[in-house]
Subunit: 373 residues, 2 copies
């Protein structure tokens, strides 16, 4: 059986595209970036094209399949590319779930557990929801938010003044008492095979994921439930590629918080921590190649994000971080700015405390923001 040589187009040029481009090298896959950003983590790695390219047919000359590192390309443009016959994976139907309002409604229709919610554009509806459920409530922009931006915890009616009520759609939900936040990556190829990564715990600060602990310290029953939910969801939506599912554990039960139809920060640990990384499996999935094992290769893997602090550029301090034994440092080639996600560190170990200590020590050496900062 013979396959054409593979050319994968990636919409976006940030760190996720960078790690996809890196995973493509040993498989001899040619990646092409579609992006109009100037500060690109992939600038020197792969050929670039304007994402606003006028002739969608031109994409077909460049690549065999299109995938995404973000959800910012307008859906109607995604559909135009699909209409040319070029495979777009995941499809525009799956990408439409990037909108949190669409996502929440669809998850509810499909019978997956979600928090109570309303979608609205008005302050009145938010107040009505809060009166039914009690304050505080969580209000999220349906689209455009990330890393805690576009999410507000609103304590009372006065707190509504912080919201940009300008016609954009919000999702409103109760402020749940979370036992834990967990996440899981599921990968499905067009021909149907599915693999599910270990369930991980995600630790947030100010709405940004800061630490990921694999596997999550949860019961095997809950872990199995999360894995089954991931498989069912991948099938239900016709997933092609990686889907990251962020879940809340509330009263011992799973509730789906958010979906991201792409490789995801909660899966970066898989580069060194798993037999096959989420990045390699994303490429394999969108090319409809056999998927690789998502099994952990060590008892524990811990990933800590390197978020810019005011001490300066982590790139200048990398040699200090490499003094810490057995850590894997990833910097994204992005310019330093306090609060910006600039890299991550992964450590594997036989016990989770040892992995956590080493990963945090390396992040500290890099001048990254401390978890308690």
């Amino acid at each position: 059986m013979s396959y054409p040589s593979a050319r994968v187009g990636i919409v976006g040029g940030g760190q996720l595209a960078r790690m996809l481009a890196q995973a493509a090298i040993p498989l001899s896959i040619d990646c092409h970036g579609f992006t109009d950003d100037s500060d690109e983590s992939t600038a020197t790695l792969i050929p670039h094209h304007r994402v606003t390219i006028d002739d969608p047919g031109a994409w077909r000359d460049l690549v065999d399949v299109v995938t995404f590192e973000h959800e910012l390309l307008a859906l109607d443009r995604v559909r135009v590319i699909e209409a040319t016959g070029l495979p777009v994976r995941p499809s525009s139907a799956v990408m439409s779930l990037s909108n949190k309002a669409t996502q929440r409604r669809r998850l509810g229709e499909l019978g997956f557990p979600v928090p109570d919610f309303v979608t609205t554009t008005t302050a009145d509806d938010i107040v009505a929801f809060a009166q039914r459920h009690k304050w505080p409530v969580v209000v999220k922009l349906a689209s455009g938010g990330y890393d805690g931006r576009g999410v507000w915890v609103v304590d009372d009616i006065d707190g509504l003044s912080a919201l940009p009520i300008d016609g954009r759609e919000f999702v409103v939900e109760p402020c749940l008492m979370l036992e834990r936040e967990i996440a899981v990556q599921v990968v499905r190829r067009p021909s149907g095979d599915i693999v599910v990564y270990p369930v991980v715990e995600t630790v947030q600060r100010d709405g940004m994921c800061r630490e990921v602990i694999a596997p999550a310290p949860i019961t095997s029953v809950l872990g199995a439930a999360a894995e089954q939910l991931a498989r069912d969801l991948a099938r239900a939506i016709g997933l092609e590629g990686v889907l990251a599912i962020e879940l809340f554990v509330v009263d011992g039960e799973l509730v789906v918080n958010e979906l991201a139809p792409r490789v995801h920060n909660s899966g970066h640990y898989s580069i060194e921590g798993c037999v096959t990384s989420q990045f390699e499996n994303q490429l394999r999935a969108v090319l409809d190649w056999p998927l690789g094992s998502p099994a952990l290769i060590a008892p524990h893997a811990v990933m800590v994000n390197v978020v810019g602090s005011d001490v300066g550029d982590p790139t200048d301090r990398i040699a200090d971080a490499l003094l810490i034994n057995d850590v894997h440092v990833h910097l994204y080639g992005k310019s330093w700015r306090p609060g910006r996600k600039l890299g991550h560190v992964t450590a594997l170990a036989g016990d989770v405390d040892s992995a956590r200590r080493r990963a945090h020590a390396a992040v500290h050496a890099l001048g990254g923001l401390a978890m308690d900062a």
Copy 2:
């Protein structure tokens, strides 16, 4: 403490430079290739410059340190670059050991175990050596040979007709009864720290390394002796970077066969098999950064080279290879030609037979030359 951002120049653009460029990405190191080859494994990955660049000072504007993926740049050119003040690691003195005659003499002077040998340009000297030691003898070109090219086993005086006796220097040695061929990578940074990779067994066919088994199935005494030899040698020659040492086991004793002052095929298993790959440690060493652990992360790692056969291009068959569980496929982006080294496959496992079976199955699926072909 602050470090400048790192720019590493690599002389060469083949698979070793490709794997160095890949290892550079997470560390945010900018690699530059210096090569005049047209069929480059790094062509789309890193910026390229002509190695025959006239003004050696121009190299200083491009990079902070120069290293090598091969030994083909004339030593006088290496010395000219060094004279500009640009760090060249390893130094021209170490690179001079790439010449097998120089290498053998120097190893003898330093007291390391080497086979009996003479260096010569004449057939008469080869005959005289054979009469002292008995036929057959092994005759190697002092420079320019690789993967079995430039090496002849000469059975008798008539066999000399196969040799290119044209004034080039040869190393002549007895045809030893080998129990085993083993190899070890040692890494030293300029400030002196040394790490040594596990001792591996290398399996050759027609003078080309085809399979590497880590760790080598040898006694711990012999393993410790090889490791000590590697440390002593790295110090004795003032190594900066990775040195691959190929050793013969003869009558239970170690004999140094050959040195390569660079990352090496016998260390490719380290990409997935060790905490830190030889490629990452080469970059860390030449930048005088702290070295990473060379420890194996699984009980066994096996690497098998993908050598072109007449069935066609492995790139067309990659999806077939990915059906094999738990293998890591590396293709080098080189055009297919029977007999050419086009990639490698690594498998890790709890038992060596399982790792070997999977690696060979993947190579077979890729259409690579079988070990018994």
